[in-house]
């Protein structure tokens, strides 16, 4: 047995060490001396990002994290999340501490409000000069003190041109169209889903009216039988593999998906949609603030920002990076729609605590809604169970007594 364990461990270790070191990344940066500050100090920062949201070296792209490690000597611990709410729960519970997080606009506002993120020292982020001011000073962070924009984009409908009539794609009603029952995917996060439902009903997606939210909730419940699944990044796979025909998602991802499957197209409904900004922030309990700012600065390097944008397909707020993009990407109307479309968009703003709690609650209700039972079902079940349990035991005791009397 002992030999066996040794053997197993040896095999595993062999696997581990047989792997050659794989980081031969060098990139051009604006000011190389800036990055030498922490060289040789063996620091590490933990980065919590969306899935598929950084150029990771697959398919001959730049491995951004490896390049940063090589340049600065700071190790990057990289993990991913799928929704803003998931990120919020992780930060709020305080379990793990991260140095870099990338929430979207409304979540940045919420985190500023709850003091979960801290102001940045822009002296350490000289590359912020490359950023478009429109995205640096925003409604959710008016002074631009807490966040540095990473990407922006719009939400629209991705559909399969083989099955869906282009005519139908100009309205959010498509997602409620019974002809496509079972072919529709939907966001699995409350804010995006409610935004669509609210817009479709002609309300603002930042509505703070309880009544309007309940209307939206009802319409999402009506939609549920038509929905195949509630997903986030699983959407790539399902749309590319033609498992589903219609899905609302982010513009940049639509470009990536259309690359893989040319049958896919993207449309922004006429009712208007959401324009989002995903920003880089540093949590209040970060351990390595300065190193984190160095990382932010690195992400703002035109070369790096362009490589990331190339990989994730979203739109860049970095003007210098924009100039480095391919001509057809710069002209791409999905990533950079013209002003008339952009005028009809709305950005998410911070919702008062009561409203966002209500939204979360209604969302859980939508996902769990199917049949309805009286709320006394479970207590009644418990009582019956306890009664049976006691009855059986009493009967057994009585029997035993009888036996012993015999």
């Amino acid at each position: 047995m002992k030999r066996l364990i040794c053997l197993a461990l040896a095999v595993l270790l062999l696997i581990l060490f047989a792997v050659p070191a794989f980081a031969d990344e060098s990139v051009e940066v604006t000011d190389e001396s800036y990055y030498t500050k922490f060289q040789g100090q063996n620091l590490s920062i933990s980065v919590y990002n969306w899935g598929e949201y950084i150029s990771d070296g697959s398919d001959d792209t730049v491995d951004v994290n490896a390049a940063f490690e090589k340049l600065t000597g700071i190790k990057v611990l990289y993990t991913t999340f799928a929704t803003n709410e998931e990120l919020y729960a992780k930060i709020k519970s305080g379990g793990a501490s991260y140095d870099i997080i990338i929430p979207s606009d409304y979540m940045v506002a919420r985190m500023i409000n709850e003091e979960l993120i801290q102001p940045l020292d822009f002296a350490n982020i000289p590359n912020a000069r490359f950023l478009d001011e429109e995205y640096l000073y925003t409604d959710f962070d008016p002074e631009g003190a807490y966040s540095v924009p990473y990407t922006w984009g719009t939400v629209g409908i991705i559909y399969n041109t083989q099955y869906v009539d282009e005519e139908d794609t100009h309205s959010w009603d498509l997602l409620w169209d019974e002809r496509y029952m079972g072919e529709i995917l939907m966001f699995s996060n409350p804010r995006d889903s409610f935004a669509i439902a609210l817009k479709r009903l002609g309300y603002s997606m930042n509505s703070t009216s309880e009544e309007q939210l309940r209307d939206a909730c009802e319409s999402l419940k009506d939609q549920k039988p038509l929905v195949q699944a509630y997903v986030m990044d699983e959407i790539f796979d399902k749309m590319e593999g033609e498992e589903a025909m219609i899905a609302p998602y982010y513009a940049g991802d639509a470009i990536i998906m259309a690359d893989e499957n040319p049958n896919l197209a993207f449309s922004i409904p006429d009712e208007g949609t959401n324009r989002f900004i995903d920003s880089i922030c540093i949590p209040a309990n970060a351990k390595q603030k300065e190193a984190a700012e160095m990382y932010i600065n690195f992400l703002c390097e035109p070369q790096i920002a362009a490589a990331n944008i190339d990989f994730i397909g979203y739109s860049t707020p970095n003007l210098a990076a924009y100039e480095l993009l391919d001509e057809d990407m710069r002209q791409n109307s999905i990533a950079y729609p013209d002003q008339t479309v952009l005028q009809n968009t709305e950005a998410f703003v911070f919702l008062p605590a009561g409203i966002s709690t209500l939204m979360d609650k209604l969302w859980t209700e939508i996902l769990s809604n199917d049949e309805s039972y009286s709320k006394w079902t479970i207590p009644a079940f418990l009582l019956v169970g306890i009664f049976f349990s006691i009855a059986i035991n009493v009967r057994r005791m009585v029997q035993k007594k009888k036996e012993s009397l015999l």
Binding site: M1, K2, L4, I5, L7, A8, V11, L12, I15, L16, A18, V19, F22, S44, S46, Y48, G51, E52, S58, A66, L77, Y78, T79, T80, A82, S93, G94, G95, A96, S97, Y98, M232, D233, E234, F236, D237, G241
Partner: protein, 273 residues
Amino acid sequence: MKWLSKTYIWVIMLFLYAPIGVLIFFSFNQSKSRSNFTGFTLDWYTRLFHNDLILQSLLNTLIVALVSSVIATVIGTAAAVGLNSMKKWKKSLIMNITYLPIVNPEIVIGVSFMLLFVLAQGLLGRINLGFEFGYGTLILAHVTFNLPYVILNVLPKMRQMDKYVYEAALDLGCPPVKAFFRVVLPEIMPGILSGFLMAFTYSLDDFVISYFVSGASSQTLPITIYSMTRRKVSPEINAISAIIFVVVLLVLLLVNFHGAHKERVSRREGGLA
């Protein structure tokens, strides 16, 4: 009747192994598709071995599993030794506590650990002893759910042991500590080993509890696999499955043949005697 039961077994084996077979088969697929086989390649395996995230989490998993199962084995064995000589009511009280982590749903255990660690973080943070979720919390949690398996494996061996052997050793002037290591320990070693192995494998495989207590720097392999299943599909997942399957198969085969060999040897010896 015989063919009926044979087909029945085959059908169940098909049910159990078809999904795994499919996974492994598509790890050699050239395209990313999960259902169209376009050509043979080993690309996904080389990619897998160049994926730092996966290698790091494999290392994390091994560290956590090894450390936690060693700690659990030491504490659990000591507990089993002590339990064996306890009064009946005390013993059954403790055994009830021991069963708790086994019968409780994993998610409830995970959640309760998260509550405990967050609370401890707050309290200890106040006296400047703050800690993060990471190896520490993972190992503490893993030791806890591993302990019952060690105890349940060692306790029967303790019960079977002839206690007079130990007393005889003492009578012959052996000091208690030495007697324990020389007499008791070898006797219960098989129990300890199988407890350790069980703890180790449970620890390697655990997802739900780790999911609630892992931190930024300590993702274990199951957690990494989980986040991979939530993204764009990559046949790297299939490649991991294939490797894990082969490793497990080898280990089990070795254990089995080892066991069969031992059995044969002992039978032969028995025959000779």
